[in-house]
Symmetry: C2
Subunit: 197 residues, 2 copies
């Protein structure tokens, strides 16, 4: 598992994402996104969970929320939560996330963008599994609000196939998971795929 630990990252993007009318917005940070995804990252051996927002007040809010658990009262009350939230880093943009990974690993990561919708050039979970033994670090990119905006897909190295839930309803089945759930499920699937390599 050592190579997996060194190579897999998670990014949660708050801009550019779309609202329910498909307009590009910068979304507000959700406290439990930070907690749940940090806990999943820590559980599945992901060292860094990057939260990307260009808004200074939102960056300040994230830093404050995380500090409560890293060095504030929360750190004493719940050391396990501290352990998880230590993986969080705040960045302006996905570009900055990639730069930070480059500085850690001396390699630019490949971006693996996620979506609840199918795209013509989706890669499968199985293909993602094979990429885990490649040389490049990978960053799994998740969108908040109603999902990542179009430029994210255009600039992505890879677009991961959507999680299909109840396939008896076929491609049009309901798959409106919380981003917290989607990130947890994808990390679990990646680990399963990796353990089969």
């Amino acid at each position: 598992m050592t190579s997996f630990r060194a190579k897999l990252y998670v990014a949660l993007v708050h801009y550019p994402v779309v609202n329910k009318n498909n307009e590009v917005i910068s979304s507000a940070v959700t406290n439990l996104d930070l907690h749940d995804i940090a806990r999943a990252c820590r559980t599945y051996g992901v060292d860094r969970f990057y939260v990307a927002t260009p808004l200074a007040d939102q960056q300040k809010l994230i830093t404050r929320l995380v500090s409560h658990w890293i060095s504030g009262v929360g750190a004493v009350n719940n050391p396990l939560r501290r352990e998880a939230l230590k993986v969080v880093r705040v960045k302006d943009s996905l570009d900055q996330v990639c730069q930070a990974i480059y500085q850690r690993d001396a390699k630019l990561p490949k971006t693996v963008v996620t979506s609840a919708a199918s795209h013509p050039n989706n890669i499968s979970f199985c293909q993602l599994g094979k990429m885990l033994s490649g040389a490049a670090p990978l960053v799994l990119v998740f969108g908040t609000a109603w999902g990542l905006a179009e430029p994210c897909f255009e600039q992505a190295d890879y677009i991961l196939e959507p999680i299909q839930g109840d396939t008896c309803e076929g491609e049009t089945g309901y798959n409106h998971l919380a981003v917290r759930s989607a990130a947890s499920i994808i990390l679990d699937r990646v680990q399963t795929l990796h353990s089969h390599l």
Copy 2:
């Protein structure tokens, strides 16, 4: 998938659960538990998500939160969320959950209790997968706060093995997932197991 749809249920228990000092408590309802687990249930074809609490004020709160999305302003603003929250039902206790399932299916369900800790008589995910083709309905039981209290394990028909995350740290690895994440991951694993039957 039809048999799976008819047979699998999810219950989220708020009493008896333990706090971080291992004292038995009745926990407060978390709004996003309702949303995230309902969305995962709807995605994976689970018809009923039972929320169990004996506290009248908490039951009222759940009913109010859910009503906002089923018949209030939320239903118009976000019909997909309505679709998910329609699966929620409030009950006093796990016993009442089992009675409600009995009334639906004319069979008492087997309880499959979950935990982040290992138990001597755990069943594996693989064994759970095989039970999906059995005759009895199954109810996956999740605890809030620091997890289900001891009586839940004593009374359970089955205790599911914990989700193991980063196994390079072995059995003592970090696996402190949010209950929202754990429920999502377990439903995803169940679907994968079921599709292999």
